[in-house]
Subunit: 468 residues, 2 copies
């Protein structure tokens, strides 16, 4: 079993713990804060609710979580050590020194620092090459970006190993090729933050007006394409150079106050805190977190269905998740009901049952070789008739399983029977009787399946005791 | 019929034309560019594909589009005049002067300017009070944000009328209370743009690396909450003031190069254009536009299902769309198939049929008074069994209609029959037989409906010729 050490809990350390645990790693946490276990549990609750909803398969079985009384105990045997202590260089140095005294030489030590460079962190270290920056974004269990920054002291093999591990956690390691303060994303964020502080400080806009300008405007664009690709499109047929020439002159105009830095006074803090209370104070932080997580799940699932941006990362990660071995009857779906599947009655909407059973049929298709390549060859199965019986309600967050049987396998005709149960206690939630026809995608007319598919289908039908 | 004049075509003018047309306004366009009609048609094609997909009801019948040979002809009779000519103040002034010579006194003249203030635009105008800034964001037919900027010269009544009209187009007018160069959103964008130019210019990151830092990271956060609400959550239980104190010191650190302005050289333009070609050059601008639009539709629909951020705006707009009058059989669904409903076979996924028929059942519920208030009172109908026959394939962008009949209305038992047809030619696409039970939401057990619902159900069943 792979083991990760999380040094420093809090929101960021807790998020890292969740990423590793829910992807099947054992996790050992060290944080001297007596409240650490409670704080990490709160983050984990959020992660356990949200992360599995992103996938249309089950994640691996959760690893073991241990809280350790000492840094040494936490680091022992860890392949990955993640340091997330407060942003003070002297503290980072003393922590890294202790870590390197205990960690195995081939463990990766990643720092969550948002501002320091690898060179600053490695300064005075016994094995500088072991230390890299792995800077994540909140909530760490949902946002895929991690800035991975190394330098000449780091072996390329170590950086590649770090990339592989981060990918296996469903994250996107962005290799930052140069060492600068605040890496890449936080430079952009800092620019927006400074400009936004000016707008509030000058009384031009409130925190809520600024948030609305973002989430109803460019925030939507940036969830799927970034800045440059968006502007490339705005340049139209004339392209990127044209766009830049059109808007280049604005660089010389006073369109930002960033030549100047807003003074960080208690008055400015109070002004912003008051406006923020007015904007969001009706909900406590736990409620806001849950809203944020549910919205992120819904957005990322929308991109997943499009196989675009963060959704393409999800699909790539999901493809590495193992399906259970073929069984009789076939275990065709194991998943969690996501939050975007529920309706005004508070339970899973009837339309989504059709989706689950459609996924179950896809799993059967995969078993008989009627897969993506087969479809690309111009052949597929189309569903002709479906009867669903809704037996017991189910809700967002419920784990569900579907087992499937072949009930008819007669040339171009295929009959399937699916049973959907609650993973927790085996309660039958719904059943589905499906009738499909094999078709040519060119003529859109029915035709017999290819011999290889027919053979695998017959074998499966035999296992299921179906009379052909 | 309401009429809008669009002065200046191009991507922005075309987007405005689409917003008005697809919300039922007649639109007259004036642009001296001989290519204007072709360019606007391309924008309109994109809008006609994407905008209707955002809604679960049909939009109003499209208005009439006219290309006019003169500015005077375009403006005549227009209640809204939108100016989107190039960003040069002298040209804006001469255009606005011509517009005011022709426009009726109570027409609203909105300028799409991203940089100029209302005072700059109104300077020398005969009726300054008629001119406001209405600054939209690309693609105008999908992104809801419009910055609405007025000043003391504008009547509050005119600004409120402008807000109402923009709301009726499904947009979000953000009232900017102060006049500053570049309003609010473009100040934030300009800050990011300048920082990003530095990162590329200094060789720290490529355009693609920056876009990845955005779309895999904070772009996801900003599509649903903005900057301040996101940071409020990051502050955790300690709140916004704590967050600011934690990150306040960074303001004094060199975390941005914005004290300085990047020099706009041909070399910088070439560097960025080359990197952009490498990043996105495999697809032409039309293909990128379609990807962007389809992604935006999927993201906004995900938020719509959550009733959050831009999705809450969509729901509010949709609630103003009229359903057809009750008919026999009942017209229960009229909508467009959105892009997130299709599967690897290229057609609407079977699971989504269940969703359409679930919506059809909801429309029947609304007719018999089993609506949101009724559910809040603790009573509802649950679907027990559904049989769907899939007769003809359908695809993203197809308009569809469902008609519904009561087939059984016997105490707590309710039977519905739905027929789904293609709007264009009436081809029957699918049928659905549904059996529902009336339940108490408290006991989750079946019980008879309330008398009022029973009465309306009986009346509807009688119209449908159903024997009770």
């Amino acid at each position: 079993m792979k083991r990760a050490a999380i040094i420093g809990g809090g929101v960021i350390g807790g998020g890292w713990a969740a990423r590793f645990l829910l992807n099947g790693w054992d996790v050992a946490v060290y944080d001297p804060d007596p409240e650490a276990a409670r704080k990490i549990s709160a983050v984990l609750d959020g992660a356990r609710r949200a992360l599995p909803m992103l996938y249309d398969k089950a994640l691996p079985a959760e690893g073991q979580l241990t809280f350790c009384g000492s840094l040494e105990a936490a680091v022992e045997g860890a392949a990955w050590v993640q340091e997330s202590v407060p942003e003070r260089l002297a503290l980072k140095h003393s922590t890294l020194k202790l870590l390197q005294d205990v960690a195995t030489q081939d463990a990766i030590i990643g720092s969550s620092t948002s501002g320091f460079t690898p060179s600053q962190l490695q300064d005075g270290a016994v094995r500088p090459g072991q230390i890299v920056v792995t800077h994540p974004f909140n909530p760490v269990y949902l946002i895929p970006l991690v800035e991975l920054v190394g330098n000449a002291a780091n072996d390329d093999a170590l950086l590649r190993r770090a990339e592989d591990i981060l990918n296996s956690l469903g994250m996107f390691p962005l290799r930052v090729r140069a060492e600068i303060d605040a890496h890449i994303a936080d430079r952009l964020l800092e620019a927006v933050w400074r400009e936004a502080l000016w707008l509030v400080s000058d009384g031009i806009a409130t925190t809520e007006e600024i948030d609305n300008a973002i989430r109803y405007g460019f925030g939507l664009r940036w969830a799927q394409m970034g800045l440059f690709e968006t502007y490339r499109i705005a340049g139209g047929e004339a392209g990127m150079a044209h766009f830049m020439e059109q808007f280049g002159p604005a660089l010389a105009w006073p369109w930002t106050k960033l030549m100047d830095v807003p003074e960080f006074t208690p008055e400015l803090v109070a002004l912003i805190a008051d406006q923020s209370d007015q904007q969001s104070g009706a909900l406590d932080v736990r409620a806001l977190e849950r809203l944020r997580d549910d919205n992120l799940v819904a957005l990322m699932r929308a991109l997943k269905q499009r196989d675009a941006a963060a959704g393409a990362l999800l699909n790539a990660h999901e493809a590495t998740l193992k399906m259970p071995e073929p069984s009789v009857p076939l275990m065709s779906v194991t998943r969690t009901i996501p939050v975007d599947w529920t309706d005004y009655n508070g339970h899973m909407n009837e339309g989504r049952y059709g989706q689950v059973f459609s996924d179950a049929a896809d799993a059967v298709m995969a078993q008989i070789g009627a897969d993506a390549d087969y479809i690309a060859s111009g052949l597929s199965y189309f569903t002709v008739e479906t009867t669903i019986k809704y037996l017991t309600e189910c809700h967002a967050g419920d784990g569900i399983r579907v087992t499937s049987r072949i009930t008819l396998a007669d040339g171009k005709k295929l009959g399937l029977w699916h049973e959907m149960t609650r993973a927790e206690d085996g309660t039958v939630l719904a059943t589905c009787d499906q009738f499909l026809l094999h078709v040519s995608l060119e003529s859109r007319a029915s035709c017999p399946p290819a011999v290889a598919v027919q053979d695998r289908l017959s074998a499966l039908a035999k296992q299921h005791g179906t009379t052909e």
